[in-house]
């Protein structure tokens, strides 16, 4: 045990090389080729002559694993002699194997545990979920349960049983902070649907105690608002009062982010649906998903309307895309207005069909 003050110096898990199993150590930088064996097994071929197989397992929503399940995964890769695994950035797990036969046994053992193998190539790669009601104070809707409902309907797209035009990533976030980001083909982002309100009593905990300071201090809950929709003023009793100006508010939730006592009407909450984001430089390059529909209901546990809208978007894309086209590439080719028409989306002030802007990422450095 170190002296507590030593804790201010973080212990870092570096260098990464000391964590690698031998099968990877001796091949770092030597990989030359890959082969796909179905949607969930990749054979990595090295110029050292080694072949390493990765078996990709879809994780539960928000990558919430029991230690018992992870121990079982460890036992599976141990029994095949590979003794290593990897977590992906989307919360999936890759088990290693050293021959195709071994990889197929790993796949079978994983499936017997009730998990699915898939998620590479023209499949659903992941549904990334924030933690929402599991630990988060700002969550409006619950992302993990919505993710579960979506996955239950989209399993054949993950396993590759039903092929997609190309890769598909879905991000689900419980609030407008969209912690998973907007670089996914479909993004669901929870929000209030209306301007937030606040708890009249408890809001004082988020405000300066006395109104005299207002001539030199802007309360943080007001300061963080990007559209000046929060006003503060002195109350008659000398305390600070605030007002949320609904006409200006864009529902971004930054006030909620700094104050637990900002509230909302649970009857009006829902999710915005955004399409066409991605990070990779394929096709049109990196782009952010944009609003297709600014609000639809989100009712647990089935999330009937939300799941149906996602399925409709996927089906429309499947029917209209050329092979290899991600949703952004498909939208770019056929035009956003066409996509709106095909989906018969009511157009309003919050979801005008604006074409995807492109040219980001490394393309910002290329000759125009």
């Amino acid at each position: 045990m170190s002296a507590p003050v030593q804790r201010l110096k973080k212990t870092l898990p570096v260098p990464y090389t000391k964590y690698l199993p031998d099968a990877i150590s001796r091949n770092v930088g030597h990989w030359t080729e890959r082969k796909f064996h179905g949607a969930g097994i990749i054979e990595h071929i090295s110029d050292t002559g080694d072949h390493l197989f990765t078996v990709k397992i879809g994780g539960p929503p928000n990558a919430r694993f029991s230690t018992a399940t992870l121990r079982k995964f460890a036992e599976i890769t141990d029994s095949e002699g590979s003794r290593a695994l990897r977590f992906t950035r989307s919360g999936n797990v890759e088990l290693f194997a050293e021959s195709l036969e071994s990889a197929l046994r790993v796949k079978k053992a994983v499936e017997e545990l009730g998990y699915f193998v898939g998620g590479w190539g023209n499949t659903l790669w992941s549904i990334q979920s924030c933690t929402a009601y599991l630990t988060c104070t700002t969550a409006v809707v619950d992302a993990p349960s919505l993710t579960k409902a979506l996955y239950d309907h989209l399993v054949p797209y993950f396993t590759g049983a039903v092929p997609l035009p190309s890769k598909l990533r879905i991000n689900v976030a419980g609030c407008p902070s969209s912690c998973g980001g907007l670089a996914a083909d479909i993004v669901l982002s929870g929000h209030y649907g209306a301007a937030p309100d606040f708890d009249r009593e408890k809001i004082r905990l988020c405000l300066p105690a006395r109104a005299e300071v207002l001539d030199r201090v802007v309360p943080e809950v007001q300061m963080v608002c990007p559209v000046n929709a929060i006003r503060s003023f002195p109350n008659e009793d000398g305390s600070v009062g605030i007002e949320i100006i609904a006409e200006r508010c864009i529902g971004c939730g930054r006030c909620k982010d700094v104050c637990d006592h900002v509230t909302w009407n649970p009857e009006k909450i829902g999710v915005s649906v955004l399409v066409g984001g991605k990070s990779s430089n394929t096709g049109v390059g990196p782009t952010l998903a944009r609003v297709l529909v600014p609000w639809i209901p989100a009712h647990p546990p089935e999330y009937r309307e939300t799941v149906a809208v996602v399925r409709k978007i996927i089906d429309t894309w499947r029917a209209g895309a050329e092979p290899g086209e991600r949703i952004a590439d498909w939208i770019h080719r056929v035009g956003i207005e066409t996509v709106f028409q095909q989906l018969r989306v009511p157009v309003g002030r919050w979801n005008r069909p604006v074409e995807l802007s492109t040219g980001y990422g490394v393309r910002q450095f290329l000759p125009r």
């Binding site: 973080k10 212990t11 898990p13 996955y151 430089n281 309307e305 290329l366």
Partner: protein
Amino acid sequence: MGVNACEEPAGDPLLERGRAILRKLEDGPWPSHVTELRKGRYPIDAYAKGLGQGSSPWYGGSARIPCVLVGFIARRTKDGKHTELHFRVYHPSGQIYRTDDLRKLLDLADEYGLGTVGAMGQTGDLILPIRADCASQAVDALRDLGTDLGGTGDTFRDTAACVGPALCEYALFDSLAVRDFYFQYPDIYAKLSSQFFPFKVKLKVSACPMDCSMAAHRSDFGFVGFWEGAPAVDQAAFRAKVDQGEVSPEEVVRRCPGSAIGWDPVSRTISFDGSKCRKSMNCIRKAFPAIRAGPNRKIAFTIGGNSKGRFGPKLSKPVAVLDDPNSVGPFMTRLLDYWSDRSPHKDRLGDLLVEEGLSSTVDRFKDSLPVTPSGHAPGGSRIVNSCVLSDSERGAYSTWAEAIAKEYDG
């Protein structure tokens, strides 16, 4: 109030409603987070209550761990019945574990924690729920394993890299080593235990333009490998792939987003116009290793991407084309100091760039860059993903969603 806080007595209708929702969430083919959480000791009734009432059950809580200022988050439920404490734990770059090492971490999660982990948080860290009564011992146990808790609040968050050369043949540089380098870079390392920035700072490293770490969007500092000019081609190997029916040259030509590829069917030669190449990786992924990145390898260094900030989600903006990815530490340090001096709390670096402009900000510190700044940022890279709607607007979208739901019912 029950004896065991994890098993409240029946009677609260919202809790009962939530418990019914939890039971449904354990059905269905996909592995359930509820089933996994039930195998451990996570306070599942808090989650049930949230689902039952239709809003998050949590308020910010508090915890004190001696000499630990960064890396843990405490919660308490609005009804006062439950608390939750979790660590954010640094993964090694690439998140690859030998099972022996993983088991030590799982033993720790069982002994000091709740028998459950979030294998991957949104920044790339391991989420480790911990018992509040032994949090301090858990910190020591974690440090003894060679890692630590970190990356919460207004600090340098966990950094992330794609899997890079450990598993991927497309890697153009060692993204994992670059993540390790900046983690240990003195001016960054010194700040891992402090909360002195206006808001969070993220750094992501991708070894090729596929950008698996999402440096183009989700990082204040992004590094992406690419190459200048045309891809390199082995004509004989490419022809062999064509002869084997593995690659259609016409399709490779047609699919190139920059229209940079030509195919001469007579001489059976593929040609590239490097000035038009968009580095989209389309041909390389189709015909690797016959077509691969050109020899002049570079790193695109961008700044100011984020999903959470004053002006909403943004894509990152160009700073410079680097030969050495480890050469911009001094620039980053100065830019972070400038941002810390200028920006109010909860404004990201990208928000400062929106207000002050990219080039006027970068130019202040260009003498600390190893090369001249370059690049051109297209506009329109910001999105508003929330809104305030009238009842009739919500009604219209609800009617639309209902029609689609009917189409998919049964």
